[in-house]
Symmetry: C2
Subunit: 288 residues, 2 copies
């Protein structure tokens, strides 16, 4: 089987929020057609008005009819429901890719799809605080890592088509096993979210005994707590579908914070300086 050229394929993006809308906009013009599917008519109208898609509909069956690639760009537990129902609607050989933030449960669900479907787990490492089609930005994926989790049944041509699609939006594909992905993002993404939440809760407790704390919140607090402003429905699905890996990451973090607490408790200036310097250098290596 030949790998399809991107300009020959019909792509349907299901979910036209920040992630789906941005992907559609980045692909538009590079594929034969980009169709959008949304639950609400207002989202369809907004996506058309902003030119994110060639056409859009609230009808899932109509939207995926004739598609070579279908991308599920909804919250994780919605993706799980959609995978369970979409199989019979998909054309023969159709690549079904998702953009969900956790992968083990999704790839397990994909394994149950009818044989005529080519399933592939996906997770682009990008996002922003704002959401909805209004926030969509065709540059969102540029230079970002785009994780792909092939199943044993995923054909090489289907994977190769997905790699072209990832390249077309400017991202870098990274093939990972879904369990490994979930363990890594527990540390890289989900732990930072919980820390931001616990920091806000701590400041809330402080504010209940002294409201002046609100006047002392500067850019450091704002940045460290930013993720606590994330969409709750999206984060809830992530936490519930990656619970065990996240609990492990929390344990690992608590051990690190305990260690820092102990160093500070000694008031040994040189030991504190050494710990802070090593961490600062480590961050520069991680995020050059």
């Amino acid at each position: 089987m030949m790998v399809r050229q991107l300009q020959d394929v019909q792509v349907t993006v299901v979910g036209l929020g920040l992630m789906g809308g941005s992907l559609a906009a980045a692909l538009r013009g590079q594929c034969r057609t980009v169709t959008g599917v949304a639950r609400r008519a207002e989202t369809v109208d907004a996506a058309l008005a902003r030119g994110l898609v060639d056409r859009a509909t609230v009808d899932l069956a109509g939207g995926v009819s004739g598609a070579d690639v279908v991308v599920l760009a909804t919250p994780v537990r919605t993706i799980l429901h959609q995978i369970a129902e979409i199989g019979p609607l998909l054309p023969d050989g159709c690549l079904l890719l998702d953009l969900g933030s956790t992968k083990t449960e999704i790839v397990n669900a994909m394994a149950l799809l009818p044989e005529h479907v080519q399933p592939l787990g996906g997770h682009p490492m990008c996002g922003k605080e704002s959401s909805g089609p209004e926030a969509a930005d065709p540059a969102l994926y540029r230079s970002r890592t785009f994780v792909l989790c092939p199943l044993p049944r995923t054909s090489q041509p289907a994977l190769a088509l997905a790699v072209r699609l990832v390249g077309a939006v400017g991202a870098h594909p990274l093939l990972l096993d879904p369990q490994r992905h979930d363990s890594l993002v527990a540390t890289a993404s989900h732990l930072p979210y919980l820390l931001a939440c616990a920091l806000v809760a701590t400041a809330g407790t402080a504010a209940s005994s002294d409201p002046a704390v609100g006047r002392l919140l500067a850019s450091g607090f704002r940045d460290t707590s930013r993720l606590a402003g994330s969409d709750v429905a999206m984060m809830l699905d992530i936490l519930l579908t990656n619970r065990l890996e996240i609990l492990k990451a929390v344990d690992s973090f608590q051990a690190q914070l305990d260690a820092m607490r102990r160093v500070l408790e000694t008031a040994d200036g040189e030991a504190v300086r050494a710990a802070l310097s090593a961490i600062r250098a480590g961050r520069l290596r991680m995020l050059p």
Copy 2:
């Protein structure tokens, strides 16, 4: 005693990094003269070249001679040394203000200054990741809270002059007791720094068993860990001079994180959603 008009006073800023350089630049033109004092000749040259000050010198005694206001804009433990030495150099009635991030130890040191000096603790709630006179920005203080910690001996005219100075750089004065300030900033600033550090350490541990974690670090991790890139010398002084309040804030945070961990452990979706929603709403109230 009359409150001095700002245009009549001679201000000397000791330390021409981000904070001191920005303050000098914001005051220049609004005071009779703004003099800068730095330890290194290159800093003096850079401040003059960037037009941050009217004049600059490496000579502390010469720089503060004739000053109506002297502002110490160095790291906290340097401020403590400077307070111990600067008294005899200051003109009669001179206001000595500092910009240090912790206040109890500084205000205690100020209480020992010779009687002819008018001391006042200060802490503007602003900053940025970059440092040095190159990063100085006259808009840095605009719309920010500027904490002032008067001593029992601080005269009303001296405090009123400081309030004018704070207003002249666009900041909002907030009078606080030094212990209360230190307790509040432990939660608002120093805790976020330690969380960022412990997060980087956790990711470092994860990376040592699987380096792929580095490819999955996206904007969420970057923002949550940003403070771990702060200047180590500055942060070391802060941690060592506000140790007990910071340890209390860490304990409070650990209790909050434990509580979140327990809710997640139950896998009770509605309980998790309620906790995340309350925190998200709390952050919106704190940071509108």
